[in-house]
Subunit: 473 residues, 2 copies
Amino acid sequence: MKSFHIAIVLLFTGISVSGQNQYINDSLTIRKIYDMSLLNGKSYQWLDHLSNEIGGRLSGSYNAQQAVEYTKSELEELGLDKVWLQPVMVPKWTRGEREFAYVQTGPGVTRNVNITALGGSIATPSGGTKAQVIEVQGLEQLAEYGRENIEGKIVFYNRPMRADLIHTFEAYGGCVDQRYSGAEEAAKYGAVGVIVRSMNLRLDDFPHTGSMSYGDTPVEKRIPAAAISTNDAEYLSSILKIKKDLELYFKLNCEQHEDVESYNVIGEITGSEYPEEIMVVGGHLDSWDLGDGAHDDGAGVVQSMEVLRLFKEIGYKPKRTIRVVLFMNEENGLRGGNKYADVAKSKNEDHVFALESDSGGFTPRGFSITASDAQYSKILDWKKLFEPYLIHYFGRGGGGADIGPLKGGDIVLAGLRPDSQRYFDYHHASNDTFEHVNKRELELGAATMTSLMYLVDKYGLDNISNETVEMPD
Amino acid sequence: MKSFHIAIVLLFTGISVSGQNQYINDSLTIRKIYDMSLLNGKSYQWLDHLSNEIGGRLSGSYNAQQAVEYTKSELEELGLDKVWLQPVMVPKWTRGEREFAYVQTGPGVTRNVNITALGGSIATPSGGTKAQVIEVQGLEQLAEYGRENIEGKIVFYNRPMRADLIHTFEAYGGCVDQRYSGAEEAAKYGAVGVIVRSMNLRLDDFPHTGSMSYGDTPVEKRIPAAAISTNDAEYLSSILKIKKDLELYFKLNCEQHEDVESYNVIGEITGSEYPEEIMVVGGHLDSWDLGDGAHDDGAGVVQSMEVLRLFKEIGYKPKRTIRVVLFMNEENGLRGGNKYADVAKSKNEDHVFALESDSGGFTPRGFSITASDAQYSKILDWKKLFEPYLIHYFGRGGGGADIGPLKGGDIVLAGLRPDSQRYFDYHHASNDTFEHVNKRELELGAATMTSLMYLVDKYGLDNISNETVEMPD
């Protein structure tokens, strides 16, 4: 019945019979992919294990190693042609005892505020740090205030994410410099610590961690840095307006250790016609330690594994080599992504396509694509095949952090774009947990990724390819 | 800067200067609408009150009356041209004491299961109903089993929603006959009660209520009907496979009362040029009693109110009359929708457009539209204006239950289509609460509705209109 309906539609579109047949075949294959993912998917079960049996998977931790072993073993179960671990040295940073902070609102009167150490921060002195607070709206405001107003104080970066931006990742991009470079810059003006408003569009009580860097700040000049929940950022800002000499106390117990060995987990189905052409699909296996890393990036990990499982289940044998790569250390180093690209280069491997899922397990809306005009236009020809699944967005640019180092030559990079409105409610916070991932949304994402991988495998994206795809308008 | 960018884009599209100016003006107005909704919206605050200060608003209840008074007073605050209550008699059904059910798994051994009375059901006898259970996959299977297998038993309707359907409302449509007519049909075969699998795609412990009807079943032949949670439906089904004579006990305490007077709440901005042409935007003020009715349909109510507020805030004076209608009794009678249409007809009012929001407060994806080909094609010309807001879906058909009775003549009916994947996780269940509505998603929906209302008001949708809209391809 399904193919009958499609045929009827095509009768009136005026494309050739072979084009029609091709379109029908692709429609049916994609329908099979979605059916399998929604009716007999495994991604949610894998995510349950990663989130609830293992939990947060910070690089270098016991949990991260558990995740390496679990996913390797699950990939082996799929009967792929190869499964292996790719060693990579990763940073090891530990949070230590839970952080603590309060503001001194009056003599002997304090109010606790919710903070969390930024990843990579040094600890405060063992007695904590207590100092006056100066609020700024961003790095550039430090120069305005100058050393005379900043020295000896805690700098409070409070520029919020812009609520009017529809793509929430743009709003994140517009704020994250405060988190990443806030301590490095404030130290130059003699600040003794940094508190950063959480990268969260919602007002709530969860502080959101994330990576930060001291740049080339000498060890003895480094200052501790923490994120504060959005509710407490609002509170702190409001009380600073009436009490300029307000003092904040905070104590961080984190520690940077020597690098340790960890792994990218890799599995592959070797291509039947062009085994030397490699297509990568992946997400990152590490996560922050506060929640379970269910959205970031447990979702991307299990969706990427599911791509290969769905190919096996529907009996599709790819012409090109399909490799799932579960990258280690995206969050605080990108060592896994860099290592994978280094090894690929040293082996002279031919990577033609890479697809990353690292934007949460929400309803998929489409893809962002880094490609030449010709390649992009070929992908746009497939849009119609995705419409029944409400996949409409095919934007240019980006792809993902872990596949970024593969860039160069003719490779096309793509990133799954799920609905982003809720993502920063959970991102890097203790509420990034399994129950906030919806099974159907996760499965729709996996099927959407698999469908794109199928089309790229079938038709190729070579810039000089002569294969053409005929699609109805 | 924004208009500059848009102008640059248009320079190369080859449409006329006046078309370009029109497009730029519309783009800027729509941008203002979204900015106002996201940066200075009121919908979320209104929903907080409806959900947390008032709560579930079943027709004829004290809460429903509170909601009438609250929304009327809030509409009055907006400085509209008119605000009034439209009286309507509504059914009054009360749940009574909480329902209770167990299965008898062995002598003296029972296990409780989560049920909830269907709206409109009669109570069980005061001692409850206990009987053997027969599982069926739908109404049509009753005839297969026949009276000899059904008489004296409880019929358990267990056909699940289809997970492979991308539009979850289609999956709902494919199951809801079990809930609506299950008791009426089972009574014909001598069943003593009905248990229906909850209309929920997720496996969880929440039973989902909803409307049911006894049709013309005489009062003495009516049997009680309840929904069971999906987890317990799975459990019941699995245990029935090993224990055919399993007995289930359930007790419902609900009661149908005499109809009572309630109200549609209506506010309007009178049109400046064509005041006799009326455009309606609305949602339903009543809800089920289990949760707060935050998604169903608190979201639609506050989004509809927000449409008029946003027009006022951005200083847009509609040419046509814009009316917000908060319908009473959508859930178990549609009396408000019918009354509104009846009064409109009796007054010979000219309704040209109606937009309903009754599919939850999730990220908006587009609209479903009931219109002539010419009208639909005119709406499609506006698609490009919505793309920056990730609004891509403009499907045909539908609109909404409450505006349905307005159908006829040249009126165009439209329904907001939010992302539907999570909707049935909450629909008619006790977890349909405020915290499951995301502020941004709600606000994006309100802005999307306002933008469509703006375009329809500005350009009209008259079938014989000579106004043309020039848009870039």
